[in-house]
Every structure is written in structure tokens, then in C-alpha cells.
């Protein structure tokens, strides 16, 4: 910086996540993963997990200290659950941050355009009318299809009204579609009261059935969606000056918005398909980053992924230990932490505006 000043110009740098915050975020994620692996009804120590991990590295002659049952608990139960929590949490936080940027609306979350209502309707249909026993395969598919279809419908309605040029019509179309599908979902739910509990549990979210197959199901969608969104982090900073000015800066606003909404929707729908509706991660995490680190999306997007992952892994640990051996729906935990925080965010943004 001093060198630049000596040349007579002020130092100008594009905003980015610095090394300290990268380390802090990664440390938080690592800590969360460790807690996720360690905490559970069967006590397994850090050292044992570390040596069991080394035993899995090829060409290292380390023997695992765990018996077959404990090996299975760590590698087939806890680890996939932790990885799934990280994927879902990171994806929801990233989608939320992207929606906030695309719509220039601090209260936008990944469910703004009706993903949640559509996924809920799809899942409820399968639970109510589907043959018992095939839920594990069809349920994620139906909720994914429902979520994507809902946003697509919202986009078509918004475009037919406002030509896709204004965000307000798109948001209103999303609200309309969400209201309609929620009504349809509630109707189906009430008509099939025998499955009420199952529907209700799904709506509140959970990583209960997590295994490696769930991880592999969402991974491709999350990877593609996250890559597209993260690559557009500077574009979101340009959109912060509004549609008209972003156009005058050379951005094809309509096309970019469609692309980002599509990517965020795809990732969110995949996450929702395996975990149900987990609220607040998509709002709380980006705002935490915004308040503490920077308002640039070049900082918010990458940090939200890591912090969102850590947050949901820890929330899941709480969800499965507080009432152990019963499980609390994870949506209850995130909202319980999220709601008071949300109130704080509102207070802070209001007083600084």
C-alpha cells in the first residue's frame, strides 16, 4: 500500500476474503466437523478417529483402533451425516446470499420464489398417496421437481407481467405461486391425516436418513450450482447499483438474473430434496458475514458457504443430542438460533440506515 502511495496514486484493491478470515472460517468448519464426528451416544475419542482416518490412507501402515461396529458408526453414520449437513448448509447459505444480491433485498432467502412451497407440495403428495416403502427414492425426486417447477412457474408469470425486467413483479409472482402451492399442500395434508406426522417431520427438515447415497444424490447439483454462483460473485457487486446502471456498465441484467436464479434454485431444490425445509440458514449466515466482515459479495459468497456448512453441522449435533435418543427437527434448531439473530439484524440495519 505504501509503495502505491509513493507513486502518487491511492491503493485500490478489489474486495476479497483475506487470509485471516479464510483461516477463521475454515477453522470453524473443521471444528464443527470434529464435533459432528465425536458427539453421539457411543463415545469415540479424537485420537481414535484420527488413527482410523490415517488407516484409510493408502500406503500408510496404520491399523485402525476401532472395532467393526465403531468403524461403521464413524464412517457410515456420522461422517456422511456431517458431510450432508455441510453440503446442505453451505448451499442454502450461498443461495440465500445470491438471492439477496440478485433481488437487492436483504430479506430474500432461498425460498423467496416458491422453492419451499413447491418442494413441500411434491413431498406431501408422495407421502400421502405414494406406495409405502419407496419414499426414500421418490420423495427427494418429487420435492426436487416440485421446487424447480414452482420457481419456473413464478418466473413465467413474472415475465408475462413485467417482461422479466423488474424484480418486484418476479417476487410478487413467487409469493403468488407459493401461496397457491401451500394451500394445495395443506389441503392434501388435511385429507390424509394418517400421514400428518410424517409430512410435518419432513416440512421441519432433518438429516435423519442421511447415508452416503444422499450425499451422492445432492453432490452434482450442489457442485454445479455453487460453481456458477461463486463465479458470478463480482457480477452481484455490479448488480448492487441497480438494473439501469448495471446495464450501462455493460451487464446483460435480464440474462444474468435468470442464470443466477436458476443456479440458486437448482442447488436449493437439491438440498431441500434430501433434508426437508430448513429455514433461516439462508438469511442468518449471509447477514452474519455481511455484518462482521464485508458487504461485498466477493466476500459474502465464499464465506457464506463455509460458515453455512459449519452452522448446519453444529445445528444438527444439537438436533440429535438435546432430546437423545429422540431427534429434534433441525429446522427447529436453526430457527431457534436464527430468529433472535434475525431480530438483531433488523435492529442493526435499521439504526445504520
Amino acid at each position: 500500500m505504501n509503495a502505491a502511495r509513493e507513486h502518487g496514486f491511492p491503493a485500490v484493491a478489489a474486495p476479497r476474503v483475506g487470509v485471516p478470515w479464510t483461516l477463521v472460517a475454515l477453522a470453524a468448519l473443521l471444528g464443527a466437523v470434529l464435533v459432528g464426528l465425536l458427539v453421539g451416544p457411543v463415545p469415540i475419542g479424537v485420537g481414535e478417529i484420527a488413527r482410523s482416518t490415517l488407516a484409510r490412507v493408502p500406503f500408510l501402515s496404520v491399523a485402525t483402533p476401532l472395532d467393526a461396529a465403531k468403524e461403521a458408526i464413524v464412517w457410515e453414520l456420522r461422517f456422511p451425516r456431517v458431510v450432508l449437513g455441510a453440503l446442505v448448509g453451505g448451499m442454502l447459505a450461498l443461495s440465500g446470499a445470491s438471492y439477496q444480491g440478485v433481488f437487492r433485498n436483504p430479506l430474500a432467502d432461498p425460498y423467496l420464489l416458491g422453492v419451499a412451497a413447491g418442494a413441500g407440495f411434491g413431498a406431501t403428495l408422495v407421502i400421502a398417496y405414494g406406495p409405502p416403502g419407496v419414499d426414500g427414492f421418490i420423495l427427494p425426486l418429487a420435492s426436487f421437481a416440485g421446487g424447480v417447477a414452482a420457481v419456473f412457474a413464478a418466473y413465467l408469470i413474472g415475465r408475462s407481467v413485467g417482461g422479466g425486467r423488474t424484480t418486484a413483479t418476479l417476487i410478487l409472482a413467487g409469493v403468488t405461486v407459493a401461496a397457491f402451492l401451500t394451500a394445495a399442500q395443506t389441503f392434501v395434508q388435511q385429507q390424509n391425516s394418517d400421514t400428518l406426522n410424517e409430512v410435518y417431520a419432513w416440512l421441519l427438515g432433518g438429516l435423519t436418513t442421511a447415508g452416503w447415497s444422499d450425499v451422492l444424490t445432492v453432490l452434482p447439483y450442489v457442485a454445479v450450482s455453487a460453481a456458477v454462483l461463486l463465479l458470478h460473485r463480482r457480477t452481484l457487486d455490479v448488480l448492487a447499483v441497480g438494473d439501469e446502471e448495471a446495464r450501462s456498465l455493460g451487464l446483460d441484467v435480464t440474462r444474468v438474473r435468470l442464470l443466477l436464479v436458476a443456479a440458486a434454485t437448482l442447488g436449493t431444490a437439491a438440498a431441500v430434496a434430501v433434508s426437508g425445509l430448513i429455514g433461516f440458514v439462508g438469511i442468518v449466515v449471509p447477514h452474519l458475514v455481511r455484518l462482521v466482515v464485508s458487504s461485498s459479495y466477493r466476500v459474502i459468497l465464499p464465506l457464506s458457504v463455509v460458515v453455512g456448512a459449519a452452522f448446519l453441522v453444529l445445528a444438527d449435533v444439537l438436533a440429535r443430542t438435546i432430546l437423545s435418543p429422540a431427534e429434534l427437527p433441525i429446522g427447529v434448531v436453526t430457527a431457534f438460533v436464527g430468529a433472535p439473530f434475525f431480530a438483531l439484524v433488523l435492529r442493526t440495519t435499521r439504526s445504520s440506515a
Binding site: F9, V12, A14, D237, V238, G242, E245, R247, S248, S296
Partner: protein, 253 residues
């Protein structure tokens, strides 16, 4: 070759004709002020120039057909200083000026050394060095206007569009901003097209004025020739006197 050539440009929105067959030529390095009462179509004309709305007719920038230019190419030719910029309050002045480099970056790229140097030079040119790390939300009206012009300068486009650049400023800052634009025009060889509200200032800056009303050009030429008391009184429904080429509103007694 002219910097701007409009041949019977029309714009309709919601069944209403906002710009109606406007033809206009602006030479390179020239300052043309577009004048007219509220709703005359001044801002819409600038939007056509900036390429942010659709239109009918033939328009070219630096000899290149506007309809054929891609968004990014148009943004490398024309920079816009909007009347009421959208201000991301927590963004720093330096980050904001860097956004001006957008049309020079490939879509997914981050700014390189050249872009940072261009932004730094723009900050210095606008005397914003000391404000580089300040958040936009904490600036005064005059400082903010300089930041917006700084972004336009970093855009390095040969044509600069100003939409009522003095509206939110006091009389001293109005003069400072227009002097600054005039200096940049001479030193950087910019072409300036400005929509102006204030006839007094418009008469003192720029080479030529174009008077528009209801989407049509009513008169164009030097401010002295165009701004006659009769024309101004009729178009603006005002009572004025013109003293030494300067329009002065007077109160009927």
C-alpha cells in the same frame, strides 16, 4: 465522424410516445446540453444513447450502429452518470469506482493491475484519494457526485452522459461539478451530452443546446440563439427575462 448520430429516433412505452423522431449529431469533443421541461424526454434520450432501452430509428456511436453493439461494447463507448444513482451504502468509494471497469473485464473475471491503476487514476483525477476507503453512505452530496463521475471516468468511455448532474447540489458544488466535467472533457478529449434542468447553468457550459418538448426537438444551436424569452416562456409556462444570454426567472407583480 460524429461521436453520436441519431436519425429519427423514436421510443414508445406503454402505448405512449416519449421520444418522437429525434435527429441529433454530436461531434467528437463537443459538449451538447439537452434542455426541456419535465417529461420532455431528456432522460429517455440519454437512455437510448446509453443503450439501456429499445428504440426505433438509426443510432450510431463513433460510426458503429447502436443496435448491433453488444452490451459490453456499448458500455466501452458510453459512460452514464445517472440523475439519482443507486447507492450501495456500505460500498467503499474505491470499490465503487472499480465497478466502472466492468465493460473491460471478461464476464467472470476479477479486476487486474491495469483496472486497479485506471481506478486509482480516476480517484486522483477527482480528488477522491482521501475518501477512497470511505463508505458511500457517509459521503456528502458533492462527494457522492464526484464518486459517480469517478466511476464513469474509470469506465474510460469516450462519450460521457450526464443526467441532470447538478440537481442535488448547492450553487457552489453545481459550478464545481460542471467545471470539473469541462476540464475532463478538454484534458481527456471526452464528448459530453448532458440533460440539464437549470437553464442558467446550461447557457454557460457547453457548446450547443438542444431544446426538446414532448419528445421532439424544438430548437438547437447556441444557448444565446435558442433560449429566447418567448420560447422559454411558452415551453416552460414560466415568466423569464434573458439578461446577457442568461435566463432569469422573474415574478409577475
Amino acid at each position: 465522424m460524429s461521436a453520436v448520430a441519431f436519425d429519427s429516433i423514436s421510443v414508445t412505452a406503454g402505448g405512449k410516445t416519449i421520444v418522437d423522431g429525434v435527429s441529433l449529431e454530436v461531434e467528437r469533443g463537443e459538449w451538447v446540453s439537452i434542455l426541456g421541461p419535465n417529461g420532455a424526454g431528456k432522460t429517455t434520450l440519454l437512455r437510448v444513447l446509453a443503450g439501456t432501452i429499445g428504440f426505433r430509428g438509426e443510432a450510431s456511436l463513433d460510426g458503429r450502429r447502436l443496435g448491433r453493439l453488444r452490451r459490453r461494447e456499448a458500455a466501452r463507448l458510453v459512460a452514464l452518470v445517472p440523475q439519482t444513482p443507486v447507492v450501495p451504502a456500505a460500498m467503499t468509494v474505491a470499490e465503487y469506482v472499480l465497478l466502472g471497469r466492468t465493460p473491460h473485464l471478461s464476464p467472470l473475471a476479477q479486476e487486474g493491475a491495469e483496472d486497479r491503476a485506471a481506478a486509482a487514476a480516476a480517484l486522483t483525477r477527482l480528488d477522491l484519494d482521501g475518501l477512497a476507503d470511505r463508505e458511500l453512505g457517509s459521503l456528502s452530496g458533492g462527494e457522492l457526485q464526484r464518486a459517480v463521475i469517478g466511476r464513469a471516468l474509470a469506465q474510460a468511455a469516450p462519450i460521457l452522459l450526464l443526467d441532470e448532474p447538478t440537481t442535488a447540489l448547492d450553487i457552489g458544488h453545481q459550478q464545481q461539478v460542471l467545471e470539473l466535467v469541462d476540464r475532463l472533457r478538454r484534458e481527456e478529449g471526452l464528448t459530453v451530452v448532458a440533460a440539464m434542468h437549470d437553464l442558467t447553468l446550461a447557457a454557460q457550459y457547453g457548446d450547443r443546446v438542444v431544446l426538446v418538448d414532448r419528445g421532439r426537438v424544438v430548437a438547437e444551436g447556441s444557448a444565446r440563439d435558442v433560449l429566447t424569452p418567448e420560447r422559454v416562456e411558452q415551453l416552460y409556462a414560466a415568466r423569464v427575462r434573458v439578461v446577457d444570454g442568461v435566463v432569469v426567472p422573474v415574478r409577475e407583480r
